[in-house]
């Protein structure tokens, strides 16, 4: 039981708990903050898996940009705990039950998979390094890369369409 293991368990627990807190906390701002915690935890996992690049990107893009955007919107609408409307109890319960049972069936389905042998190698391996990723990205994956630019473009145009005053 080395340090990696401890870290793994710690991060996993952190992620799960804060994820749950995201869902249950009344105040939206708190949810955002908890979500950031989740992201951080996941980035930690990336690092454990020796995928530094993704870890960084995850922090920058998600925990940074996106979450700030969320916060920004919240501020804009100054939503907080009391503005959060109460969903009726039954639907809430139903939701939890459904989520839970989805978890159950998924686990049940996957439990049968004998992946015990399969190991995810920890803090070794080079594929996660920017160098290798970059090469692959711009050699094999150049087409999707370009395509994604189209995606962004469309998003941009879209936002313009919606945001523009008439």
């Amino acid at each position: 039981m080395g340090i990696t293991h401890i870290l793994f368990w710690f991060l996993s627990l952190l992620a799960l708990i804060s994820a749950i807190l995201v869902v249950i906390s009344k105040n939206p701002v708190h949810s955002v903050l908890w979500l950031i915690v989740v992201f951080v935890a996941i980035s930690g996992h990336y690092i454990l898996l020796n995928a530094q690049f993704l870890a960084i990107v995850n922090l920058i893009v998600y925990a940074g940009a996106i979450m700030v955007l969320f916060l920004f919107v919240f501020m804009l609408m100054n939503l907080n705990a009391d503005t959060e409307p109460q969903k009726n109890k039954w639907l809430k319960i139903a939701g939890v039950v459904a989520g839970g049972s989805l978890l159950l069936v998924l686990v049940a389905a996957l439990k049968k998979a004998d992946m015990k042998a399969q190991i995810a190698e920890m803090n070794t391996g080079t594929i996660g390094l920017i160098h290798n990723l970059g090469i692959t990205l711009f050699k094999d994956y150049v087409v999707p890369f370009e395509i994604s630019s189209v995606l962004f473009l469309s998003a941009m145009v879209g936002v313009v369409v919606i945001g523009k005053k008439e």
């Binding site: 139903a94 939701g95 459904a98 989520g99 989805l102 069936v105 998924l106 049940a108 389905a109």
Partner: protein, 649 residues
């Protein structure tokens, strides 16, 4: 001159032509012209028949089949449109065309009050009737026979309902047609049986192959045929239409419902005598039904006051006699009685018609009386008719009836007893009729009395002719005991019934002995026969004289009471049928209408409604709530996984 028989097709075609002429140009023809056409074709047909008769009566004449064209031929089954000429058919030819002609003649005067188009319509119908009747007797196979069979039914329908503005008459016509149809169904099924058994419906094939076929099938066939006969010839249980049929013009009653059509049944059975001789069961049935009908109708006739109704029931009763004859195997006797009956019953009807004509349409005897002074000819002829039907020698009725009774006695004395008793009743009600009408004092209104007159010659001539025939026809069939070998008709018809002769030995049925002499049974001594004759004559005389004496003095004018009431109401048979058959069917129909609307159609529409209801319910899922949608999605997903986990294997 054997080419004569080849012209036989002309005989039916002539009336057909008359029908077409009178029918199509009814609006343009004058009455006299119509009458000429109507009677002319009949006369021509009669002459042709005479010529053919002349040919047929040559010794050693063999039946001639004239095939006109192929009517229906499917697979192995061939039904030619063929005519068959032999002694039997020729005999009927003569009766039909001869009596038919006289009645046409009679009609020209009787129907003279109708305006031209309807007058033409009347003669068109009459001609059409003769046409189909001729088809019936000439037909060379059962299908052609059936065509004529239904054709005459149609014509009787049209003629009964001739005065179609009167709903009563219309209903009578309908009743006649439908009751006939019931019989026809039996006939039809019998034909199918033949097709199945013999693969043919031609008389020749059927009769020649009848031997050795299973008795069961033959019995079925004969019984079904007999069902047809009961319809057409008004036997129990299908007789009730005939009295109602008196709604038609009187000449029609005379021709169709006395002389010709109603005897079709007898003709048909006589024609297929071979089959019947082979099936004793059927014979018994025929005999019993016949004698029962005879008695039953006679009793009803006792209490009728409508002059035509009395005659109608007497017709039914006489037909019963004929079937009795057929049932006991006295085919000749039956045919003989058909002939004589044709004469005297036509005579009686025409006479009644003449009376009604004179009385200005009055048919109730109670309003008549004492007509003998005013209408001499009618009276005389009518009297002859009465004597003839009562069976008093030497008039025709005696010979024919006696032949049947003799045969009946030989077969089974019970038949004889009932038959003789019926004869007594016959004599009684006929003379009741005669006396009430012609004797005593006039009981009608004054202007009726004032208008009373003898009918014109167009009416009286046929009366006279028929009277002569009614008086003399008997001598065509003098019983053996009276004059040996004098039974001309017997010899004449021998070939037709030869088929049955051969079976005498096997079945022991009374048929014709080898030498063609009437066999009132070998074991029956001449003495017995004289005795029988004596009894019947005595009873007949007694009945008639009593009735004459009683009703000349005081006819029963008041409504019948007690048992008489039952008779007057015809044993309530119509009411019985109405309650037992008509009403239930009507209810059933109403029930089906209800089912159709409220069950079957309801289910059909119900499916539609179900879909709409389902739609209304299922659309509630579309709650508009994203949460709900996602929830349902997830649930769906879970279901899929559950299937994957547990169901799918």
């Amino acid at each position: 001159m054997s080419n004569m028989t080849q012209l036989v097709w002309l005989i039916p075609v002539l009336p057909l032509a008359g029908f077409l002429l009178n029918g199509l140009f009814r609006n343009y023809l004058s009455k006299s012209l119509t009458g000429i056409i109507g009677c002319g074709v009949l006369l021509a047909a009669f002459i042709l028949s005479l010529l053919i008769f002349g040919e047929v009566r040559q010794p050693g004449f063999t039946p001639v089949i004239v095939t006109l064209f192929d009517f229906i031929s499917v697979g192995k089954l061939h039904i030619p449109f063929a005519f068959q000429i032999d002694q039997l058919s020729v005999l009927f030819l003569l009766i039909i065309t001869g009596v038919g002609f006289l009645i046409h003649l009679y009609s020209t005067s009787y129907m003279h009050d109708e305006e031209a188009p309807h007058f033409a319509r009347y003669f068109a119908y009459l001609n059409l009737f003769v046409f189909s009747m001729l088809l019936l007797v000439l037909g060379g196979n059962f299908v052609i026979l059936f065509i004529g069979w239904e054709g005459v039914g149609l014509c009787s329908y049209l003629l009964i309902g001739y005065w179609f503005q009167n709903l009563e008459f219309g209903n009578a016509a309908k009743k006649a047609f439908i009751m006939n149809r019931i019989g026809d169904l039996g006939f039809l099924i019998a034909i199918f049986f033949m097709i199945n058994t013999f693969g043919s419906v031609t008389f020749g094939d059927v009769f020649s192959h009848a031997h050795g076929k299973s008795i069961g099938v033959l019995t079925a066939i004969t019984l079904l045929l007999f069902v047809g006969a009961t319809g057409k010839s008004a036997q129990i249980p299908l007789y009730t239409w005939l009295p109602d049929a008196m709604a038609g013009p009187t000449p029609v009653s005379a021709l169709i419902h006395a002389a010709t059509m109603v005897t079709a049944g007898i003709y048909m059975i006589a024609r297929s005598n071979v089959l019947y001789t082979l099936t004793p069961v059927t014979q018994t049935v025929v005999a019993v039904i016949g004698v029962a009908t005879a008695l039953f109708a006679a009793t009803i006739a006792l209490k009728q006051n409508d002059i035509k109704k009395v005659l109608a029931y007497s017709t039914v009763s006489q037909l019963g006699y004929m079937f009795l004859g057929l049932g006991v195997g006295a085919y000749t006797g039956a045919v003989f009685h058909v002939m004589t009956h044709a004469f005297f019953k036509a005579l009686l009807f025409l006479g009644a018609g003449s009376v009604i004509h004179a009385m200005g349409g009055e048919q109730d005897m109670r309003k008549m009386g004492g007509l003998s002074k005013k209408m001499a000819v009618t009276h005389a002829t009518f009297l002859i008719g009465c004597i003839a039907i009562a069976g008093i020698p030497p008039f025709s009725g005696f010979f024919s009836k006696d032949e049947i009774l003799a045969a009946a006695y030989a077969k089974n004395p019970v038949y004889y007893v009932v038959g003789v008793f019926t004869a007594l009743l016959t004599a009684f009600y006929m003379f009741r009729l005669y006396a009430t009408t012609f004797r005593g004092t006039f009981r009608g209104t004054h202007d009726q009395e004032h208008h009373l007159h003898e009918s014109p010659s167009a009416i009286t001539i046929p009366l006279i002719v028929l009277a002569l025939l009614a008086a003399g026809a008997g001598f065509l069939g003098i019983p053996e005991v009276i004059a040996p070998n004098a039974h001309w008709l017997e010899h004449f018809l021998a070939p037709v019934f030869a088929g049955s002769v051969s079976t005498v030995g096997e079945t022991g049925a009374i048929g014709v002995a080898g030498n063609g002499v009437v066999a009132a049974a070998p074991e029956m001594s001449a003495g017995t026969e004289w005795m029988l004759m004596g009894i019947s004559v005595a009873l007949a005389l007694a009945g008639s004289l009593y009735a004459w004496a009683r009703f000349s003095r005081k006819p029963d004018l008041e409504d019948a009471t007690g048992f008489g009431k039952v008779l007057a109401n015809k044993w309530y048979v119509d009411e019985f049928y109405d309650a037992m058959i008509v009403k239930p069917l009507d209810l059933l129909g109403k029930l089906f209408v209800w089912i159709d609307r409220n069950v079957i159609d309801w289910i059909v529409n119900g499916i539609g409604r179900l879909v709409q209801y389902g739609s209304r319910q299922i659309r509630l899922l579309q709650s508009g709530q994203v949460g709900g949608y996602v929830l349902l999605m997830v649930v769906g997903m879970i279901v899929l996984f559950l299937v994957e986990l547990f169901v799918k294997k």
